[in-house]
């Protein structure tokens, strides 16, 4: 399980954009995984199993925070702006900011497929939704990200831009 920590941290950080929270999420994931190790089927994908535990923790925490901050989220999204791209160059900070402004379910889909190298099917299993839902979330995510970073939808090339897999 030790070997899975780096990829879990990368997934957690991509989701929440904060190292301390990311490590808290990984810690929670490891504890839960350890408690329920008997539920893990040998020979199946350990990474996918751990990812599922992690994203469930993330989304339940998000729901709790939503109830507390209620509609602050929407206002924040509206007021936080991302610097427009200059000559198509986007620096990492702006990119991260834009990523964090995406709806969480879209960010999750984009990260799973576009960075973690999951297939649409694997991503759907982790996010517990239909394959088509993952595909549309990825598409919406890349459209929004591109818009936020100052590009219009017309500038989008083929839909494969964010696909890592086949």
């Amino acid at each position: 399980m030790l070997a899975q920590i780096p990829t879990l941290r990368a997934f957690a950080f991509s989701l929440c954009g904060n190292f301390e929270r990311a490590d808290d999420l990984v810690q929670e994931t490891l504890l839960k995984a350890w408690q329920h190790l008997d539920k893990f089927e040998e020979g199946t994908n350990l990474r996918a199993w751990l990812y599922t535990i992690l994203r469930n923790s993330y989304f339940s925490e998000l729901r709790k925070r939503r109830r507390e901050v209620e509609d602050v989220d929407g206002k924040m999204t509206a007021s936080l702006s991302v610097a427009p791209t200059q000559h198509g160059h986007v620096d990492m900070q702006d990119f991260q900011k834009a990523l964090n402004l995406l709806p969480a379910d879209q960010r999750e889909a984009l990260v799973l497929v576009g960075a973690a190298g999951m297939s649409y099917e694997e991503a759907a299993a982790i996010a517990q939704c239909a394959v088509g839902t993952i595909k549309s979330r990825v598409n919406r995510a890349r459209t929004r990200l591109t818009q936020m970073l100052g590009m219009s939808e017309d500038d989008l090339p083929g839909s494969s831009a964010f696909d890592a897999g086949p």
């Binding site: 030790l2 941290r9 198509g88 984009l110 960075a115 890349r142 989008l156 890592a164």
Partner: protein, 64 residues
Amino acid sequence: MHEDDERTPGAKNTRKPEIKDASALPQHLGRKLRSLFSDVEAQPVPDRLRELLEALAAKEKKPE
């Protein structure tokens, strides 16, 4: 705008500080996302997480 040049051979691997061709941006973003992820992945495991696993392993012996 024309999108003809978006897949210019070799464009993927050249690390230019800026990309003039606007249609190249989404690919540029895809690379950003992957490098964000892999940069974190490349970091050493924080002590508290390593120690947590060691403590769990010491408490009850379960397979790694």
